[in-house]
């Protein structure tokens, strides 16, 4: 079974982004970039499936500017076998990413696509569901456990009330939640080995997809700032303030 794992290059989760003063976006120049954390979990899950003998090949895909190469290298160092870079300077939104992935799926014929539930930059939480829809495949979103047996993926999902388990007939799309696994760090020898693994570069046009965005960014603003509060000295003072000043209890 072949696995496809889309990995997005995003501003590192530790960076507190700043809104540009002209309101055209957020400052990304000189900011640390990393693989989207949910995609690390997806790569890890794919590598574990391969280690268990359930998968034969893992293809990591990243879409965007040329430096998405680095994100693919990270996936290769974690254990993916080869990479595909869909290179473009156009801002890619989930619909375009899903269409590009669909075209790649038709070319590569994976039985399972494992991807992040959410990119921590656009916070869309959409691409996996959209890819599944375009392919007519079932989806197991927000997965905290994935069991592959024969033609079925049994996926435990994190939902609002707790956990839910669904059985999907392969091929399918799975999106990862935080509790699925703990991604490994790539070892130095594996980082070296990853340098020799192949990365193919293609363009959206090669896949016959128009990646033009459907959402125009009108402006970006800082969220409303909270006023600095006070420190109270005791539990008594806290309860008194909550009762008489804030009037919330």
């Amino acid at each position: 079974m072949k696995l496809l794992v889309p990995v997005k290059r995003v501003v590192d989760f530790n960076v507190k982004v700043r809104v540009k003063s002209d309101g055209t976006g957020v400052e990304t120049a000189g900011v640390k970039m990393s693989m989207n954390p949910f995609d690390e979990i997806a790569v890890e899950e794919a590598v574990r499936l391969k280690e268990k003998g359930l998968a034969t090949e893992i293809v990591a895909v990243s879409m965007g500017v040329a430096s998405c190469q680095e994100t693919i290298r990270t996936a290769l160092a974690m254990g993916a076998d080869r990479g595909i870079l869909v290179e473009t300077d156009v801002e890619l939104q989930p619909l375009a990413v899903a269409k590009l992935l669909k075209a790649l799926v038709e070319k590569e014929q994976p039985r399972l696509v494992i991807m992040g539930k959410q990119a921590i930059d656009d916070d869309m939480n959409a691409t996996g569901q959209m890819l599944a829809a375009l392919l007519g495949w079932p989806q197991g979103t927000f997965a905290s456990k994935v069991v592959i047996e024969g033609d079925t993926a049994t996926v435990t999902r994190e939902i609002d009330g707790g956990l839910e388990t669904v059985a999907l007939t392969l091929p399918a799309v799975v999106t990862t939640d935080l509790r699925l696994n703990e991604p490994r760090y790539a070892s130095l020898p594996n980082i070296m080995k990853a340098r020799k693994k192949p990365i193919e570069t293609i363009r959206p046009a090669d896949l016959g997809v128009d990646p033009a965005p459907r959402l125009t960014l009108v402006s970006v603003a800082e969220p409303p700032k909270r006023k600095a509060g006070i420190k109270v000295k005791s539990v008594q003072e806290l309860v008194e303030k909550l009762r008489n000043e804030a009037k919330v209890i």
């Binding site: 989930p94 619909l95 921590i120 939480n125 959409a126 669904v166 007939t169 970006v220 909550l242 209890i249």
Partner: protein
Amino acid sequence: MTLVLVLLDHDGKSVKQPARSAIAAAAKLGEVVALVAGEGVGEAAKAAAAIKGVAKVLVADHAAFAHALAEPLAALIVKLADGYSHILSASTATGKNVMPRVAALLDAQPISDIAAVIDADTFIRPIYAGNAMATVKSSDTKKVITVRAASFDPAPEEGGLAAIEAISVPIENATSKFVGAELSKSERPELTAAKIVISGGRGMQNGENFGKLLEPIADRLHAAVGASRAAVDAGFVPNDYQVGQTGKIVAPDLYVAVGISGAIQHLAGMKDSKVIVAINKDEEAPIFQVADYGLVGDLFQILPELQKELG
């Protein structure tokens, strides 16, 4: 007037509060037609018809929709989509699962988790864990939207008198099957509906301490209990307690953070609360930067005292 379709979250008997926030957002866009899909949902449909601002309720009562699986639900909504300018739901687990699937089938780019409606095409949504608010304009003819419930006051439960219309749309689903669910049971209010939320973090040390120290206070205040990712990852509490960028978004009247450092991903889920209290032994903890009332100290001393003081 344009028609807007809203997929409602329900439990078969009642309509969930986040769904009423989605109705409130939808009412800014046009006349609201509510969709109640499920099996044995007559009571929920009646509840939907009573919500203020709902003009009509469509009821799809069929076993295929019993567990709100994305594949049949999305197929249903796509078949209904003609005639609606916008299709919305709350950003609940169901909404997030279903709506992007609907959008893709309609060749639309979903507009996830909107916090404000500017006009029929333009919306404000948080990006980067809420560290920036993006105003976006959609060029799609049909807009597919999920609504950040904490940003819209829910439409009142009473005051509406909508007609209920049963619909029968045959949907085949051969590829996904519901196997089972393991739901957290609690008498407390739901996290996204509670007026008071008290959350614990890694500082709580274990699940027993949640039960012993935090929950009695929650019960006294009729509060919901939440948690940081660290507390969930460590197994102190179930996953559905997680508040934050990638968990639940809450904006109660009072949010109490106990033993939580205040990482941006956590703040993303609670910083719109009206009043924030932080209890933490580290006076440098970033949570104090958003707290109205901060109390520096050991939670193992403070929580029992707080319980006593509340009486």
